[in-house]
Symmetry: C2
Subunit: 231 residues, 2 copies
Amino acid sequence: MISEKTIERLSLYRRILQQLRVEGKETIMSHELADLLHIKPAQVRRDIMQLGYSGIPNSGYRIRPLLESIANFLDSPLPQSAVLVGVGHLGLALLANFAGRWRQLAIRAAFDKDPAKVGHTFHGCRCYSMLDLQKVIVETKSIVGILAIPGEGAQSVSDLLVQSGISGILNFSPLRIKVPNSVFVEHVDLSTTFEKVSFFARRMKHYVEEEKWKIEHETDEGEYETLTTNQ
Amino acid sequence: MISEKTIERLSLYRRILQQLRVEGKETIMSHELADLLHIKPAQVRRDIMQLGYSGIPNSGYRIRPLLESIANFLDSPLPQSAVLVGVGHLGLALLANFAGRWRQLAIRAAFDKDPAKVGHTFHGCRCYSMLDLQKVIVETKSIVGILAIPGEGAQSVSDLLVQSGISGILNFSPLRIKVPNSVFVEHVDLSTTFEKVSFFARRMKHYVEEEKWKIEHETDEGEYETLTTNQ
DNA sequence: GTATAATTGTGAATTTATGAACAAATTATA
DNA sequence: TATAATTTGTTCATAAATTCACAATTATAC
């Protein structure tokens, strides 16, 4: 009923609106939000419509109640817990950025197969043995698992997470894990993302240089296709 | 003409095919690749068609030439360079994972405003002062900039990158930067990603519990909407 | 008050992405 | 050599996401 894209945008709206509120702003219009996100105003209105919140014609949306509507929609009444598997460089970075400061989704435990890490606390988060995975997940009532491990172990760890009752996985490993369709998976594949940016950067460069050439040579003939971008 | 989604999938195909090749596999059929990625065979065939590479009816695609076609399509003839801005936890993790081992897109330099970091080398990558940004980018002929800094400085650093001739930005900061449309931007927004996974994990859980309840109570009446997922 | 200008909410149109289905092609087999 | 079985390339159909465009509504100016 509600799409992933909409959820992502709502989360973004919230972050921006929170910032605007501390700056003292009280209302906002769809085209202002749209400009900040580089999307169209109609998209903003549609998203907000889905919350059931109504704006005021000719004056926009009142920020405070709009934020309440978003929170009401996105957040759980109770705080939710997540666990992190893999305390390598990436895992540490995630802990550093999100361990404490996360209202809704607290990372409550970390796991690593390296015995040297087990028992230690990283950025306020205790690291357990992989053997304790199921026990800790059940105890902390965690619903989300974050996979920050190399591809090799990803499927077996994913299976473990699912068995332990996890219902969402954020997968930073390069492997496309298989899960039952009662579990939500989000793949964040940094390798392919790099390749994508590299590819389009190169294309953009070529395109710009072609345009320059055309201008320098004053040739109007010869139509060029425009590029597909995400702007 | 070619979509971002297709580029992402081609990059994925490549990684999987490289693995299969070292395992000794010579040919692959669209449905095999499709199963590994949890997509439909028609999608695989369509993507490969766009490369201009043709498979063989009743026997599939020959892996080696297919890999060549993908490389030919995705990669630049010359290796390309990228720079990283922000050597915090996340920046370090990116360097650790991608600094050396990246065929196509080498991270050639890092920048940080912390004087304590400038002059040091992290995972084989030298850290420079922000003041040297433009100079180093021009010298290394870098076309991609990776932003791994907090939101506050993101826009001004982005402007600097663009001025210095960067044509693609991989933005890990929570700010939606504004760039001319001759520059490609990919946002990797970990906060919203967390929120999204958390949201759908909760929904999945509810859905599963509802289903259980329905089964336990043998009620066939009362239709429930199915969830929108990315499986 | 009334008129004017501006903004929302939303149906319709458009664009983009995915999926189904089948002819054409190729191999394997009898 | 001919027949059967299978997989590709591609067209047509469907679904999802976005954008347009405009009536309805509200604030503001006069």
